[in-house]
Symmetry: C2
Subunit: 389 residues, 2 copies
């Protein structure tokens, strides 16, 4: 096990009706907020009315900025930064899923600097201050509600890049599983996939003797495998949603990464796909992971065997561990398909003619290998994308 | 799943050599500390010298108070409170195991009030302020390093009572598994038992649809079952210690209790045993749990079956679930014995002649039932202690 530091300062307020506490909770941090959200669904569902009523009751002023889209755009972030500076906003309140929260985090960093916040996403400097961010989560998926991460897409050049900073841990996040009842089925599937991906990125590590976090990760994967089909079968199954929502949050705060070093190549590869084709992140991950696994399997067959046996209940073939591991990958693909996800690029409606371009961008012209479990150069990434075709 | 709020503010600094960061870390919170510890082992091992060197290097003044014993005493707490007030101490730094940390938490609460801190342990009022507490953990067991709890024994009347308050979450805790290398074998076993007990208290709940935390609890139990025998076989197995130490911390911060209501009757019953006989808390728990389980088994056989199958790898007898559950209890007993622990009161050297007295004290004369999974009155507690005889 590696040395580590661990602290998750985000206060989680979980359960039925908890969005009505938002005003009182915000009042502990700020008097004026940017209320940031996506499309019309939070308005149509009445959620936005409940939020603004709670803010008003607590004497909190707010400026609204809607319009966040999946794969959130830098241009809207710039708009949010401007509004914060103009109105003296003290906290950015995200009401939505990972895209809204990631956009809010970018705005929170941008509001405290004079240069373009995109600089941080390019790796030029790191934030030293940010407005506090708070969230009301509507989509269990990205884990951004208690993570240090934000992913933003710059429209020119289809560039999708990430920043991680302890400064953007939300100060609080409200998780009410009821808010997920109205999600479209495809979005539910993409969310479940995103959660699985966060777990697998952490699971495949070269750090040895990390049995405790191995088991915690397996427990969380088994939870998603058991509960995600239930919410797809019955979108109003509160308890199944509660399990998925809480597991999705734990999956991406850093508890399950303590003492280990995750891989993250699949995320980097997927960012190139969704950066160009604007597919849902989770849908892209469902395509990348099986291919990544088949490409890296021989690097550590035992780890894949443990995963296949414990997570997917594959019977161990002691005489052919690799076959055991491959069965795990097959069961994972079958699970994704059962959720309604494609497991190939063609199934996703993505042609194969820009694979080399994606591989080149992903590895910055083969100068920046991706992944820690196996370091992948441009040729490796292209080979994985071809396997996924 | 129940609604819940969750936030663990304690910063964990985990790994080899981390005790040398203590001065720099304290400096973020205080300039003068009470350095609180137990017997001679932290001095003999050189740990105390490294700690004071780190404090001095960071310009931190300190007042020493050693002498904490297992089942920490109120009289020493009073001494600590006096020292804090006298010297204007700003933070209580515990160097030791759960007893030292619990004592430090009591002192931290007492230093901010004019009345006796024991009032809180009697349930008369709750703390509204406390000095910050920080810890350097030497014994993986109590989980006090990132919990809200403190348990203190008042010598007159052999009263052992607990307080829980968010105010006494340590501000940081340093966990270096190397510090556990020199623990006596019996103390290691008691610590492993204490960790198992914290997990089982949370596991046995009447709250339904809590599959995620069920699985996290099972994962943590399996970790202790796998790793504790390794540290007993080889006291310098760093990685096994790291697993036990990190699992012990997670076992008792409230993550694994989110959305569920734990039982805690076994802890209450054990407090009566160790309050009178001064046995190690973990040793007492190894005796109480099997008896508590046999007494409550029929309340929810399915929950015991799930535990037996998943945690103890008992093969499910679908035609006789109760037999499956009982095999789980037997394997648990065999595990405790393999660690060198007794599973009966007589094995612990405790006579049966004060059972009624303990049952009466535990339930405050049958006016305060203990436990949530099954509410136990005085007669129930006496019956369990007789089963444990």
């Amino acid at each position: 096990m590696e040395n580590f530091e661990h602290c998750i300062p985000t206060k989680i307020i979980f359960g039925r009706g908890t969005e009505n506490q938002v005003g009182a909770e915000v009042a502990k941090h700020a008097k004026k907020v940017l209320l940031h959200f996506g499309g019309g669904s939070v308005r149509a569902s009445g959620l936005l009315d409940r939020v603004t009523a709670s803010l008003k009751a607590a004497g909190i002023a707010y400026v609204e900025l809607g319009g966040v889209k999946p794969n959130p755009r830098l241009s809207l972030v710039h708009e949010g930064v401007k509004l914060c500076k103009q109105h003296g906003v003290e906290l950015v309140l995200a009401v939505g899923g990972g895209s809204v929260i990631d956009s809010a985090k970018a705005i929170a960093m941008g509001a405290r600097i004079d240069h373009d916040v995109w600089d941080f996403y390019l790796g030029n400097g790191a934030p030293t201050a940010a407005l506090p961010v708070a969230t009301i989560l509507t989509i269990p998926a990205a884990g951004s509600e208690s993570s240090t991460g934000t992913v933003i897409t710059k429209e020119e050049g289809d560039l999708k890049r990430a920043v991680n900073s302890d400064l953007i841990y939300p100060v609080f996040s409200i998780l009410n599983p009821e808010l997920a009842f109205t999600l479209p089925r495809f979005q539910v599937a993409c969310g479940a996939m995103d959660i699985m991906a966060h777990l697998m990125e952490r699971y495949f590590t070269n750090v040895t003797r990390v049995g405790f976090t191995d088991r915690l990760l397996e427990a969380t994967m088994k939870t998603i495998i058991a509960e995600a089909p239930k919410v797809i079968a019955n979108s109003r199954d509160y308890d199944a949603w509660a399990e998925v929502m809480w597991a999705g949050c734990i999956a991406h705060n850093n508890l399950l990464n303590t003492g280990r070093i995750g891989d993250w190549a699949s995320h980097a590869i997927e960012h190139e796909i969704s950066g160009i084709y604007d597919v849902a992140h989770g849908a892209g991950l469902a395509v990348v992971f099986p291919a990544w696994m088949r490409y890296t399997l021989k690097h550590d067959v035992q780890r894949f065997v443990q995963w296949a046996v414990r997570v997917w209940d594959v019977e161990l073939d002691v005489f052919d561990p690799e076959a055991t591991a491959r069965k795990g990958i097959e069961r994972m693909e079958a699970f994704y398909k059962s959720l309604g996800l494609a497991v190939t690029l063609s199934g996703l409606g993505v042609a194969s003619d820009r694979i080399d371009e994606m591989a080149e961008k992903c590895t910055e012209g083969n100068t920046q290998p991706v992944g820690n479990f196996v370091k992948l150069g441009q040729k490796d990434v292209a080979a994985i994308l071809k396997l996924a075709a």
